[in-house]
Point group: C2
Chain length 430, copies 2
């Protein structure tokens, strides 16, 4: 066998829409020793994580826990558990991750009705409400913050329209949870999926979900206890191999075992019905990451994300660059920049990474090569990182022959920060 | 919002069949800062992890990578990707995890033919070979090491029987990989799933898989690129919401997006086609855990697991306890003990945990309350842990009024270790 050297990550400033930098406290939390999955010390920690998730999801839902997989495992868990094959599912699409919901719903056997609008914009909520009334779907699946285009979908009236027609509303808040208000209860969202590696600044690998009693009722209709936990006494005593009767699954049964929320909630309930082996170290990380949210305060955290967005945008515009997309519905935690004509966007990104250790993102599909995306999420969303990013971007664009206004970006951002500092002082004095 | 205190795990000796203790080097590896998922430093690490997995799976397969989820996510990924609805799938069942394969295959739309045998035993390989010839399934799914009963299924001739009838052979090696020989190529296994939190001693949260060209051919037949990556130029320019044509999924399409191996392999290939966001910190852990396997040597690691099993079994028997199950096919990394008549198994387990900080396991279904299970896996599989376990178990059984032979267990284990030490010295001198 080969031998493998020790490995350390190179120093990086990560300004993509995820994964982003992680607070050293969270990193250290993962280095704690393992405990057993049914050790009372661990199940008690799991219960606390559920409390913490209710806080950040702004909900009193009974169910709020992570699925053990990356964000899209949470999306698929919600969809495969709530969609019966043949169900009509409405998916408003305004970017790449809307297509993902379409894709997953379609693989779950849904009849998907896709609404589309121009990328870089969002839907007027009335458009979605009207489509809900027209198509009377069993489920509506939509993205709250679309990182591919840097847009934030207004949610007004969509929850109540879903209740009118008896549809469940499933919302992808992967990019927004912990950075932008996500009001699960106030907005009447039936199931919401968050991300860890974005505004929560916990490494990728878990997908926090929450859902209410309407969603749970659907799960309970479809629930079945898995073989091997149903005490198959006969099998345990049969000596001769026997060919079982060929059987088909009930047509309304949940098609996944790993992503079956009805089983996952039993595992996260006091019954602790065995399912997977919980990802111990990732739960430690999530606990510590959510503690940091509480210490900061969720509203203060939203305000911090707005503050640094303002500084970044001021700098980008002072440099002479153009933002992509509708400003009225801009996603605060992702800033999309139109790549200037004639500039090789990937060459700029490579130079930022190779010379400055700074990562920004490109985009997908029709936007590839057209925009850069800068994330301002979680621990990466800091004054130091914003100032460094603006300085480095200016230098690399100048190197590439783009006529940017030298020195203007960092000064513009500093004006925002100094102004905010003065305002804050004035508030204290008032 | 509430506040949450800092959290530390209580000190534990973990002697269950997983999750088990983790080498401090692996724990520390997780505390390294995050890098981006497409950062060349990270993709290069991903490639090295593939090399490491080929080593431990004993294969030259092109594909060997982790699925981002716990072990059963890897089982479901293999089954949902390789089973077409309506396929006949043969599942030999000799314990709880065989039922899990039955369950997952059935949710994938398979017509399952279950073979069963008495728990605590395995199948004669000829029985399975003969069932393969009789039923001519498209796929055979089976467990290599069944932790629920502590049994190891002999694999002779099963791989070649599958090739005779054109079936794919999918093997759950979650409990055995890294602790017991798993010979992917020599045994003609088409897809194998390992576990991290067992003999590899890496925290739960990843499921290493490998598969060969026969399995890949099946994936490629069923593959489709997801929406949002197919450059939907039309959607990007459409201004008015349009109701798409209702569409159904092709009947042979892979029903999961998250667990679709045809997409996962594109993500792990040089194309790096975007799918999920790789679980950065868990990959750091897996890299370090697999480095430890290489440093020890995979054969030496198998021998270490055998050595400590011998000491444990000697101690258990010297104490006067009875092992459960067929000794000829005992799984080296799990030792099942019949709970003596009249003893409350859970009371013994609780006292071990509460007084000694030592965790051993119970079992499932028909074996609940009938046996205890002691794992000897990975970092937990050490002389110190075996001696401590025997001493603690003796004390707790004595406390519960079981007439064990005082002091005999630890002495028996010491005799094994001292004897092995003498043998090792003699080998060196010879």
């Amino acid at each position: 066998m080969r031998t493998y050297p020790g490995w350390s990550p190179p120093p990086r400033t990560i300004m993509t829409p995820g994964p982003v930098e992680v607070d050293p406290r969270v990193l250290r939390a993962m280095a704690a020793p393992i405990v057993g999955q049914f050790d009372p010390a661990f199940t008690s920690l799991m219960n606390t994580v559920m409390d913490q998730l209710r806080d950040v999801f702004q909900t009193t839902n009974r169910w709020a826990y992570p699925v053990d997989g990356t964000s899209r495992s949470g999306l698929e868990a919600a969809l495969v558990s709530l969609i019966e094959p043949g169900d009509t599912v409405l998916v408003p699409i305004y970017g790449r991750f809307g297509y993902l919901l379409h894709e997953i719903a379609s693989r779950c056997g849904a009849q998907v009705i896709a609404l589309s609008c121009e990328w870089g914009r969002t839907f007027a909520p009335e458009t979605i409400v009207s489509a809900i009334r027209t198509h009377q779907p069993q489920l509506v699946a939509m993205v709250h913050g679309e990182t591919s285009t840097g847009q934030l979908q207004p949610m007004d009236g969509i929850g109540s329209a879903c209740r009118e027609v008896g549809a469940l509303l499933v919302v992808d808040a992967v990019a927004t949870l912990g950075g932008v208000p996500v009001q699960t209860d106030a907005w009447q969202l039936d199931a919401v999926i968050g991300g860890t590696q974005k505004c929560l600044s916990v490494p990728a690998g878990l997908a926090p979900v929450t859902y209410n009693g309407r969603a749970e009722a659907k799960l309970l209709q479809r629930k079945r206890i898995e073989r091997g936990l149903r005490a198959p006494a006969a099998a345990a005593t049969a000596v001769e191999p026997t060919a079982a009767v060929r059987e088909s699954l009930a047509s309304d049964a949940i098609r996944s075992n790993y992503l079956d929320l009805s089983q996952l909630q039993d595992y996260w309930s006091p019954a602790r019905l065995n399912h997977h082996t919980e990802a111990t170290s990732m739960i430690y990380a999530l606990y510590e990451g959510l503690r940091l949210v509480t210490e900061e305060g969720v509203e203060a955290r939203w305000a911090r994300h707005r503050q640094h967005e303002e500084a970044l945008v001021s700098g980008i515009e002072a440099m002479g660059l153009t933002l992509y997309g509708d400003r009225r519905t801009k996603l605060p935690v992702v800033t999309c920049i139109t790549i200037p004509d004639g500039v090789d966007g990937e060459s700029v990104r490579s130079m930022l990474l190779d010379r400055f250790g700074l990562e920004i993102a490109s985009s997908f599909g029709p936007l590839q090569g057209k925009i850069w995306r800068i994330g301002t999420m979680g621990y990466s969303c800091s004054m130091r990182n914003i100032l460094f990013t603006l300085g480095a971007l200016e230098a690399v664009l100048t190197w590439h022959g783009v006529p940017v206004v030298a020195g203007a970006a960092v000064q513009a951002a500093l004006r925002v920060y100094e102004g905010q500092a003065v305002e804050a002082e004035e508030r204290v004095q008032a």
